[in-house]
Symmetry: C2
Subunit: 203 residues, 2 copies
């Protein structure tokens, strides 16, 4: 008898779905996709935004170079093909976190419009928020927090976005920030305003 | 002045860490790695376990063929190399969910001991629970919920684990289930007992 029960093992009626997880969290799962040049402030904004969301008791996660480039995508370089595959995988993982009911933020240059569009199309309609972290390349190069622009100018780093590789600006981002003119706090406030106005998070 | 503030844009002091997310969720983030033959009951158990955890108010997510093989790993087939890369990526994503403070379950055959070991090593010490969903291949073939064994016998599906490709049984799984002898409910109860006894979830 026991064997018979176990043989009839495939029942999926009890499956917990995305809206169950979102109900438990009291907010939707969605992606905030930061895009912009190296040094424009993507990671800084993601960290500051995550802190503000966490203080509201919301469930968050940041996908960034630290946990993706050295892990999931450690087999990828910086050629156009590898950049595309890099962003494809990040888009897929972001979508899994959204499906998991988690507010996920991605902080990658993601220079190609087509790749960002691919990531957007993976998300459920409306659960992808593109944030253009706009900052003139001269200002980014002046900041040069990791010394990467210096190395790019010296030719030590090849295919560096903004110097020796293209960056395609978003045409219709949900949010357009100017980090050479706005403070981190002001940028975070604008994103939070957007999220509450569009019912992504409770007011 | 505004420009200067923004120039000094890299501060990460406020970063929310794994233990912050775990505190918010009132439980640890960890991986329950189901491994076993096709038809052994991995997905069924993951779904039933998720329901039980959800009812306790815990944050969960299942990684399975439905959301991985058709998405993140859609570029991979079933050759030994592709199986290894498949499991590597799943291990990386599972680890991201653990880092996100989420109880994540993976339901993949994951036939190679070495690959499961790689996934285990990605996790923080002790946050990887291997569950051997043990069931004789004859019983799995009799169940054949997807008609896959039939196709494997007919040679339509090549490199099918248990028929034409190897399965390496876990040597020291944290939990060893016999789904030809135990009901789904009994298996779930044993996993929940393990999780509470080892303080992965509140009693």
């Amino acid at each position: 008898m026991v064997t018979q029960k176990a043989t009839n093992i495939r029942w999926h009626q009890g499956a917990i779905a995305r809206d169950d997880r979102e109900r438990l969290n009291s907010h939707r799962g969605f992606t905030i996709w930061f895009t912009g040049l190296s040094g424009s402030g993507k990671s800084t904004l993601a960290v500051a935004l995550e802190e503000a969301l966490y203080e509201r008791g919301l469930r968050t996660y940041i996908l960034d170079g630290d946990n993706i480039r050295h892990g999931l995508n450690k087999d990828l370089g910086f050629s156009p093909e590898d950049r595309t595959e890099n962003i494809r995988r990040i888009g897929e993982v972001a979508n899994l976190f959204s499906d998991g009911g988690i507010i996920n933020m991605t902080a990658f240059i993601s220079p190609y419009r087509h790749d960002r569009q691919t990531a957007r199309e993976l998300s459920m309609d409306g659960s992808f928020i593109e944030v253009f972290v706009d900052c003139p390349v001269e200002v980014c190069e002046q900041r040069d927090p990791k010394g990467a622009y210096k190395k790019a100018r010296e030719g030590i780093i090849k295919e560096f976005t903004g110097i020796s590789a293209p960056y395609e600006s978003p045409e219709n981002p949900e949010i357009h920030l100017h980090t050479d003119q706005e403070t981190v706090e002001a940028c975070v406030r604008r994103i939070l305003d957007y999220l509450t106005r569009h019912n992504f998070i409770p007011a």
